[in-house]
């Protein structure tokens, strides 16, 4: 099997430098800090015996870690992919690639694959930290698999977005900023648009139905995340509110869940971005 040379080169050079170990250390350090502060805030660090142990806290710790991992994903992926093409342009290596018969699709897919591989590395490295919550029980392995599947497809969309902007803008920093703006629009912007809509047209009198939530939030990663953690979230916690915003009703039984819709959007949007990125690279002036 032939490995995409872009993937081979990028993986080699990424792992060779000091940046990869530093990124992994910072990532894990941040997650450790989150879990430490969480247990500290819930008075679970200095307990002795089972009397003061609250299993709900352990399950919520899983949700907290999962949520912060998603936030890190939203934050890190644009940095990993924002320079995918623009850095080639900045160091004058892009022309040397484009004057070959190597397909621009392979260039784009290679860059996205590398970003997903880097995200996978971070997620895998975080497994021992996630494993802490398994000591307390209440979280099943299927919850973890679904969560990782959600992360990977979300990373595909975020990576495609970063590469797309990287083909448009000459400077890496501009493509990173544009990626953040788009992610901001997808996550917080869609909630704001929905809130404004219900404020002006409904005066917040009725609770939005599931199909209405889908109409506004299908592109929002937090909307998808809400049903990924629905089995581990309790109605009274902050994650319960996220579940409600993803289902309309906490107890509702929905077949096509919000994560399926959101990931469906991610796949289609990624395909469009990959197509546009490859076209833009191929297009000679």
């Amino acid at each position: 099997m032939k490995i995409n040379p872009v993937v081979e080169k990028e993986l080699k050079t990424t792992m060779r430098g000091w940046r990869a170990p530093l990124l992994i250390s910072l990532y894990l350090g941040f997650l450790l800090l989150v879990i430490y502060l969480y247990f500290l805030a819930n008075d679970q660090l200095y307990t002795h015996g089972l009397q003061s142990f609250n299993p709900r806290v352990a399950i919520n710790a899983f949700n907290t870690l999962a949520f912060f991992q998603l936030l890190l994903l939203l934050f890190i992926t644009p940095i990993l992919t924002g320079g995918a093409i623009s850095s080639e342009r900045e160091r004058q290596t892009l022309d040397l690639l484009l004057c070959t018969s190597f397909s621009t699709y392979k260039v784009v897919l290679g860059k996205i694959f590398v970003s997903i591989a880097n995200i996978l590395l971070l997620i895998t490295a975080s497994l021992p930290i996630m494993g802490i919550v398994f000591m307390f029980g209440g979280v099943e392995i299927s919850n973890l698999i679904l969560l990782f599947f959600f992360y990977i497809i979300t990373a595909l969309m975020l990576g495609s977005l970063g590469v797309f902007y990287s083909t448009i803008f000459k400077k890496t920093i501009v493509s990173i900023v544009m990626s953040y703006l788009t992610i901001g629009l997808l996550t917080f912007g869609t909630y704001i648009i929905m809130a404004l809509f219900y404020f002006f047209f409904d005066g917040f009198r009725t609770e939005p139905k599931y199909h209405e939530l889908v109409a506004f939030l299908f592109a929002n990663p937090l909307f998808g995340f809400g049903t990924v953690i629905e089995e581990t979230a309790s109605n009274s916690s902050v994650f319960g509110a996220l579940v409600i915003l993803s289902k309309g009703d906490f107890a509702a039984k929905i077949i096509i869940k919000s994560w399926m819709i959101n990931l469906g959007f991610d796949v289609l949007f990624s395909a469009l971005l990959i197509f546009l990125s490859a076209r833009r690279l191929k297009h000679v002036k």
Binding site: K2, P5, K9, Q92, T93, L96, C99, S101, V284
Partner: protein
């Protein structure tokens, strides 16, 4: 091997390449000569598939580059005037990456890399990171990279630019080896004597137009119908121009900083007569000579040198 027909490239109203045509046969080395901004790089980028022509056609090894925009690229090797390298790769890894890009089997890559590094005299730098190579070595590495898929046509845009004299000589030696290997090459350069030594034919381009094209002998013949005289004066430059322009055997007069160059179509007697007239009119002539014809002077004359045409 390469046929360019009526090539035009416009940037808005600016014509970077203006109806340019040329033909390069298999195994020929074609020198592309012109001042900065004459349109050499634009033409080469079009042939390399990095720019789209406004009109005209380019055929490489029988393939129209607009009809076969991807597959024809296997036939060309391109080395731009300015390029970057992946500093964080070692020399063989750099070559391996481009071999992969061209779809060369992994099993063949090491041998191919060794052969090409030997060709460009970089064998002893095999364990180095690309970052640690000198400018000249990077240029030679880029040349090796452009040869990795054994292209039929090599497009080299100013391969010796920015190099010190030693590195230039080394680059010239490599190019001579490529010539001996029978490669078809189109090469642009400012160093005309070097081109004259390497190239089987040259084309002089000015303001996007091909001024003259052919073998060096043909060009010398074409332009030698016009002899050129150079007149250096202490002062009275304007007066000297006036007198020269009044002579029926004088064509175009080019004014340089402290001398004049004029196209001359007459006999030696006519030339003596012009000198006599200048002295009679009290022009302080310091020297009055016929310009020795070499490719550099032909180029300077054809593009009007650094002076103003009168």
């Amino acid at each position: 091997m390469l046929i360019i027909n009526n090539l035009v490239k416009n940037y808005g109203k600016f014509k970077a390449v203006d109806n340019l045509s040329l033909e390069i046969g298999k195994g020929h080395i074609y020198g592309f000569v012109g001042a900065n901004g004459a349109g050499k790089t634009t033409t080469m980028k079009i042939v390399a598939g990095l720019l789209k022509p406004t009109s005209g056609s380019v055929v490489v090894a029988g393939m129209d580059i607009l009809k076969y925009p991807e597959s024809y690229k296997n036939k060309i090797g391109y080395m731009p005037d300015f390029f970057g390298v992946y500093d964080d790769l070692k020399v063989p890894e750099y070559m391996d990456f481009y071999a992969g890009v061209y779809g060369i089997e992994k099993s063949q890559r090491a041998k191919l890399t060794d052969e090409l590094l030997e060709l460009v005299n970089l064998t002893e730098k095999k364990d180095f990171y690309v970052d640690n190579l000198s400018r000249g070595m990077k240029q030679r590495l880029c040349l090796a990279r452009s040869l990795i898929h054994n292209p039929e046509l090599l497009i080299l845009d100013e391969p010796a630019s920015g190099l010190d004299p030693k590195a230039r000589v080394e680059m010239k030696e490599v190019l001579k080896e490529l010539k001996d290997l029978g490669k078809t090459i189109i090469i642009s350069s400012h160093i005309l004597p070097e081109l004259a030594e390497l190239c089987t034919s040259i084309g002089i381009i000015e303001k996007g137009k091909m001024v003259v094209s052919g073998t060096i002998e043909e060009i010398m013949q074409k332009t030698s119908q016009k002899r050129v005289i150079r007149v250096k004066v202490l002062s009275e430059l304007e007066g000297a121009v006036k007198i020269l322009k009044e002579q029926p055997s004088i064509g175009t007069v080019n004014v340089h900083n402290d001398y004049l160059e004029a196209d001359f179509h007459g006999t030696n007697e006519n030339m003596a007569e012009i000198l006599k007239t200048a002295i009679k009119n009290e022009i302080p002539v310091v020297s009055f000579t016929e310009v020795d014809r070499n490719i550099e002077s032909v180029f300077m004359h054809l593009i009007g040198g650094e002076g103003n045409e009168n």
